[in-house]
Amino acid sequence: MPPNTPTHDPGENALVATGMSKSFFGNTVLDGLDLTLRAGEVHGLVGENGAGKSTLMKMLAGVHTPDRGTIVVGGEEVSFSHPVQAQRAGVSTVFQEFNLLLERTIAENIWLGREPRRFGRFGPVDTARMRRDTEELLTGLGVSGLTAGTLVRSLSVAEQQIVEIAKAVSFDARVIQMDEPTAALADHEVELLYSIIRRLTDRGVAILYVSHRLKEIFDLCSTITILKDGQHVATRPATELSEAELVRLMVGRPLTTYFPDKPVDVAVGDVRLALSGVGNGYVDDITLDVRAGEIVGIAGLQGSGRTELLETVFGVHPVARGSIALDGSPLQVTSPRQGVRARLAFITEDRKAKGLALNQSILDNALGVVRSVFPRRTGTARREMPGVLSNLDVAAHSLSQEVQFLSGGNQQKVVLARWLSIDPLVVLMDEPTRGIDVGAKHRVYELMRELTRQGVAVLMVSSELPEVIGMSDRILVMRDGTLAGELPAGASEEAVLGMATGAASEEAA
């Protein structure tokens, strides 16, 4: 089919999803969402981290099966149990992490699994036709200067994205989903993406555009759907919304008295951890300090560099520019081991992947850090550990139970015990209460307060706005690898999210 003729009537419904719901292990992640995508239209999907955007995308992409809900594409009801089925039904997705084979050419990537053959079913692969079809696709998108025979590995990120889009188009997609497409693009590359999107909509393709860059949402989208906590908040034409209004719709929960009160007896002491102009490949010009007995929260959206900041402090990434000081003296850590020796603790984002050895027992995991860095203290730590664990309310059958059989909350408590055993001066926490039940969350918050009472400095990254606002003495907001600003304790969610997205917000603290 010639690539430039319109493929679908504008205005008709390309995709109608009704009642989409999904739960993981009893956690409802998405609840009864309705979404209508019209041909030739760019539909924006916004919401903070954890709102359910990615789950919805994955269901439409055939990666997850919905617990409830129907999907109708082009008038026909469909269900997907494998991503290939979604593609064949005309729903293609461009994920943030590209699904490309780096060592293969553009053409080979696009036609993977569908390589055209000469002479019918058993003939050889028609590489000439692959090349021609690829070039047609690329020019159809308005891109020149990319040849079908280029290895994907040698392309820039923007070019790789173009390959992903071309692949989506090659399935004759009615709907193309894009997840944070400009996260890794430079200005002029974003322009190119805009023009590609315009071409696609001219041809009647419906685009679901997921992004936290509100400027782009307003540049491109004619309709915007807002999600919050797995629920549908609103679907409005873009013309009826402003950035501030959008942010307000994204947040705004009833306040909870969920967080332990700040203890009155904590004296915030001297500056314990000080970063000055710190930068490397991941973050730039970070200047902040954390005092003893203080909890500093770091908010920001996905991809803003928060985890990389903690990793830099801990020694996972080297500091290329600027300096770090601990209790006044310069801190030079070039490895986690040095970080531990300096009495820094790092509670990682993903406890199963990087925080625990799942096949080992509770006791072995809890003693893991001490054994690795301070082996002589193992005896003492071993004696004290049962007390520490019971203080944390770890619920298990015995200390020799393998941690993989514990609930998320209990696993996180084991992680905490592991790090408490080195008597840290600074505790770096990345999403400390992700994926754990309410009771365990409360215990973690209480622990954080106890730590401040002991004079520990806490630097906490969190995507949960209530948590950041409720627990932090001060809130720093990161955006695109640098600090966007600072807000005092008790700031509104809109103020935090507004600073994180860069939306002009008339609301101050």
Binding site: H64, P83, E97, N99, V340, N365, V373, P386, F405
Partner: protein
């Protein structure tokens, strides 16, 4: 995860957790159901089978001699265990044994005063080989089976070059006695071979080592190298020490083997595969993170008992390799799953490891929790 903790577990919140669950008997039974424990049962079963076919095997003097003969491979298996539990492989054991055997023959010769220096030299060689294997795997980032295959080739070539491919020199009898001899006039047993004493010593040392911080860190590294690194372990040094221990075990095995086999460059050939088979039979998971060191030794005994059994059934010993191949394949295919079946806690608490939803998210489509 809000609804996932079961009530029996939840009721323990706040009280100090016991070290282990259940009575001693319950623990033994649970342990026996794991692959690491089942191998001991296998040893018992095979022992019975061998005695049934050849009753004199069960007589103490015969039995203790059998244990003495099995000591080298059991020690090698324990050495291989360290490497495998850390997630690697050591295919150079056979070449190390050959090297040590040749050193023993050539360096000691008839000179008794050289025995101790020779042993020191051999241990040094073991350390060097272990260092090369370890650094090649961790610093050069070459897969361990390639590094150790390369070491095997290089050492093998070097040894053959130095000996011209033929058996040379027999070390003095005192040295050979280590492997061959024993404590005489022991009641019931007649002779208690030195190799058995050495085996017991090595086993005790291994158990102690695995309980020490090094051993626990070793297993944690094999289970999750990323988490271990973030916890401050020097992963490269942990793994390198495992390779050194492996090479030293091969050295000790070599010293014992000189007693039986004499000095020939082909002594110890294929030992690494026997050791791996023993370790795998002992329920240690290839890829690291699970398994007990004594199970590896038990696996060696199970293997030797199996060979004895087949021997008595007059199956040629040339089938050994085939038997090993079959065991390796079956054990690997079955082992990883079997561990999770045996260790599940007795109550109905939901495992934290997610059961895959009908369509598990595939890597490459992760967009985070948006």
């Amino acid at each position: 995860m809000s609804a996932s903790t079961s009530s029996p577990a939840a009721s323990t919140a706040g009280r100090t957790l016991p070290l282990t669950e259940g009575s001693r008997l319950q623990r033994v039974v649970r342990g026996a159901l794991t692959p690491g424990g089942a191998v001991f049962i296998l040893v018992a079963v095979l022992f019975v089978a061998v005695v049934w076919v050849n009753p004199s095997f069960g007589e103490p003097p015969q039995l203790i001699r059998f244990i003495g003969r099995t000591a080298p491979i059991a020690i090698a298996a324990m050495g291989q265990y360290y490497v495998i539990v850390s997630g690697e492989f050591d295919l150079s054991m056979g070449a190390v044994i050959a090297t040590q055997v040749v050193v023993a023959g050539n360096y000691i010769g008839d000179d008794e005063s050289r025995v101790l220096p020779a042993i020191a030299l051999m241990l040094l060689i073991g350390v060097v080989v272990g260092l090369v294997n370890g650094l090649g795997t961790t610093i050069l980032r070459v897969p361990s089976f390639i590094v150790t295959l390369g070491t095997m080739l290089a050492l093998g070539g070097l040894v053959k070059y130095l000996t011209g491919g033929a058996a040379t020199g027999n070390p003095v009898d005192t040295f050979r006695e280590i492997g061959r001899g024993g404590v005489q006039d022991v009641p019931v047993l007649d002779v208690l071979p030195y190799s058995v004493i050495i085996l017991v010593a090595v086993a005790v040392a291994s158990v102690w080592l695995m309980r020490a911080p090094f051993g626990r860190t070793l297993i944690a590294t094999g289970d999750n190298p990323d988490a271990a690194g973030l916890a401050g372990a020097k992963v490269w040094w942990v793994k390198t020490r495992a390779f050194i221990l492996s090479a030293l075990s091969a050295t000790v095995a070599g010293i014992l083997l000189v007693g039986y086999a004499g000095v020939h460059p082909s002594v110890g050939a294929g030992y690494e595969f026997q050791a791996i088979t023993a370790v795998v039979l002992g329920g240690v998971v290839l890829g690291g993170g699970r398994g007990w060191v004594l199970s590896a030794a038990a696996g060696a005994f199970a293997l030797e008992l199996l060979f004895s059994f087949l021997n008595f059934l007059e199956i040629e010993s040339t089938w050994r390799n085939t038997v090993q191949g079959v065991i390796i394949i079956l054990a690997v295919a079955a082992s990883a799953r079997a561990w999770s079946l045996g260790r599940r806690p007795t109550s109905r608490s939901t495992p934290a490891a997610p059961a895959p939803s009908p369509t598990t998210a595939r890597p490459g489509t992760e967009t985070g929790e948006n």
